[in-house]
Amino acid sequence: MLRAVLIGLGVTALAVLGWLVFWPAPTVTLDTVARGDITVERGDYLVKAGGCISCHSAEEGEPFAGGVALASPFGTFYAPNITPDPATGIGGWRDEDFVRAFRHGVSPDGDFYYPAFPYDFYTGISDTDLLAIKAYLDSLDPIEQQNRPHELVWYAGFRPGLRLWNALYLDAGPAPGDRDRGAYLVENLGHCAACHSPRNRLGGIVEDRRFAGTSNGPGGEAVPNITPHDDGIGDWSAGDIAFFLELGMTPAGDFVGGEMAAVVEDNTGQLSAEDRAAIADYLLGLPARPGP
């Protein structure tokens, strides 16, 4: 009897391992995408809304050539080169490769990405917008800069295990076409919750504390609550939020520092006034949550 149970467990373990390692990664088809809206200008704007430059550019390095170190409980991730260099960047990527990376967190070679690349947010971006982002990145000067391998704790090194993470936390998109603009900017492109929420031991966002801030954000830094609670932005008006997103000034006349200063300068400060107002409205409509 014991022997039968052990054999059963062994077979199950092998089956799970087989699924993790050998099951084909998801693919995408792009036959029905409207190509007329795919422009470099649109992509430029979306890249600003998406905050790509923040992680994909090292402080003293070329924009988008990668290199930023992201310290996490799973080790240090190094953001890759996303300039169109064919050898070290994304120069050789097909449209399907690019969309699949965002939609499913899978590389052109079929490897799973770590969610340090926030594909679990970007999955909601529409095909048209993703291809506009690709058009913009393809328009950049190719920079030859080899990617630095991640330095991870031993158990995080097994990439097929990310299939389990995706089963738990990835709600593959795209978002419905009629998604509210503020929701699209905050939840998908801007991926605000990636830093403004606590994460559990598996690196998944703690959903009932989403946007409520964390004392242990990227690099171990505290990240504030951005829900309309007294612990967060409960006493901010929509105008206060929009103004903050434009130039980083809080209602008290203080100017934000840290990572958010760069986000304001490179990302939210570059958006249209309408988009900043849409973000403000969306944040004020979030459930008020205490914390961190």
Binding site: L247, G253, A261
Partner: protein, 159 residues
């Protein structure tokens, strides 16, 4: 007293009330500060009071008043040159929010302080030249970026 001057008095009163509420909350954050740390926290609060007052006009919380912008910008431009003097090496006792890297990268810190000085002077000049409101706003945004640019690297993140 005309109705416009009485509304001005009323708004001023409102401004003073708001400023004193702000002052109380700032005092709490700065409690226990002494010496040059206290001096620079008070200094930063002065800057914040003036940027906050200009910002309130661009947010539509207060009526746009070019003369008031000129006055606040004058305070900012006048205070800017002494910023680095308030950061003598090693002056970092609690509740200081300065990161030690400030003194390791002193030249960059000085360059950022110079950016603030230039941008606050530009704001003052734009306001004194009675430029269009949009131009004054743009000059204010440019100055605000210099504040954030320095806080980004040299100030502890807020909880």
């Amino acid at each position: 007293m005309s109705s416009s001057s009485s509304s001005r008095v009323w708004l001023t009163g409102l401004g003073i009330t708001a400023a004193s509420i702000l002052a109380v909350s700032q005092v709490i954050a700065h409690e226990g500060a002494t010496g040059v740390v206290k001096e620079r926290m008070d200094y930063m609060k002065t800057l914040g009071d003036n940027t906050g007052a200009i910002g309130a006009m661009f947010k539509g919380e207060a009526p746009y008043d070019l003369q008031a912008v000129q006055e606040h910008a004058g305070v900012l431009a006048g205070e800017a040159p002494r910023l680095t003097e308030l950061f003598p090496e090693g002056s970092n006792e609690a509740p200081s929010e300065t990161l030690p890297v400030t003194w390791e990268q002193w030249e960059d810190f000085q360059a950022k302080a110079a950016d603030f000085q230039a941008a606050s002077t530009a704001l003052q000049e734009t306001a004194e030249a009675e430029a269009e409101q949009a131009e004054v706003r743009a000059a204010f945004v440019r100055m605000g970026r210099t504040c954030g640019g320095c806080h980004e690297v040299y100030r502890k993140p807020k909880e």
